[in-house]
């Protein structure tokens, strides 16, 4: 079954969001899937291999997400707002972004996974920068703003807000989203 592999990676990503790369174990996965630990090792011999699969899955998700937004026939500003909105709705209340989680655990990751995370981060940033750039051609942004900096700031604030939401109220995130939209409208 190629399905089982998908199942494992799906669950692993969820576990990364909940407990981090260091915090989840093959035992967690095997118990939740109702199979033995050795069976997980059959599909992903080393944790490193699963780590790589996780990051690759994140990359394709990002790319699909980008495509679906690019193909939507709305204005640049609306694309940006849609991206922000979806980015925020993707996660359950106690879940954080898997990329943030892996960035936090960066120093404990195997080298190959570290490189993959670097790649993912760069990709995410370039997608965001592209969307911001497209929005800038309209009235949405001042051109005194550095496009890349705006992109990083938006992404960072969402990721950071997810951390605060995890331990505080649920509406922490919505406050940040509103604030970002306000800033985009005003500048």
């Amino acid at each position: 079954m190629e399905n089982r592999k998908k199942q494992i990676v799906d669950l692993a990503i969820k576990l990364v969001q909940q407990k981090g790369y260091v915090g989840f174990s093959y035992d967690d996965i095997s118990k939740q899937l109702g199979v033995t630990k050795a069976s997980i090792h059959y599909h992903f011999e080393k944790k490193e291999d699963l780590g790589v699969a996780i990051t690759e899955r994140i990359i394709t998700s990002l790319q699909n997400f980008l495509l679906s937004i690019k193909n939507s026939s709305v204005s640049g500003g609306d694309k940006l707002k849609r991206f922000i909105q979806q980015q925020a709705e993707r996660f359950a209340c106690t879940e954080i972004c898997p990329i943030s989680s892996l960035q936090t655990d960066f120093n404990s990751l195997p080298e190959i996974v570290q490189k993959k995370i670097e790649e993912v981060s760069r990709l995410e940033l370039s997608i965001m920068t592209e969307l911001v750039a497209e929005a800038q051609t309209e009235d949405i942004l001042n051109d005194t703003d550095d496009v890349q900096s705006v992109a990083v700031t938006i992404l960072s604030s969402i990721k950071g807000a997810l951390l605060y939401r995890r331990v505080l109220d649920d509406d922490i995130l919505t406050g940040v989203i509103n604030q970002i939209n306000l800033i985009l409208r005003k500048s």
Copy 2:
């Protein structure tokens, strides 16, 4: 020696910033301090106890930081900018905010530490909100802005930027700081 306890907590915080609560071990600490693991357990019987000490240290650091800024005789806007600047300079290039790190590991923390982290997060947010509110009395902010939301957004973006900086270029953070200052000036 009460000094040894301080030494342990200092190192533990650094390790939390580098590898997270789950990622650091008593062995890490003992080896770096040149004593045995059991000696660390003498000072902090359970890891939980060390976890509590870590969060309490973070709280007093935050409070001292707040006092030093409050007592500085500059305008509200400058206090805010000074806070942001110092908050950013506090961390080495591969280090992230210890609060962010503990928020990420939240689900793996002992209950007592979880509650402490909730407390720390609330405190940090209230400090930030206070500074933003003081800045709002001047021309710095629009009063259409929700003070709390602005505070969370600023904090979140800094914390998030530290994550990206860890895996990408060093100037990711400075870009975000500049952007925040731009926003504060413009609105």
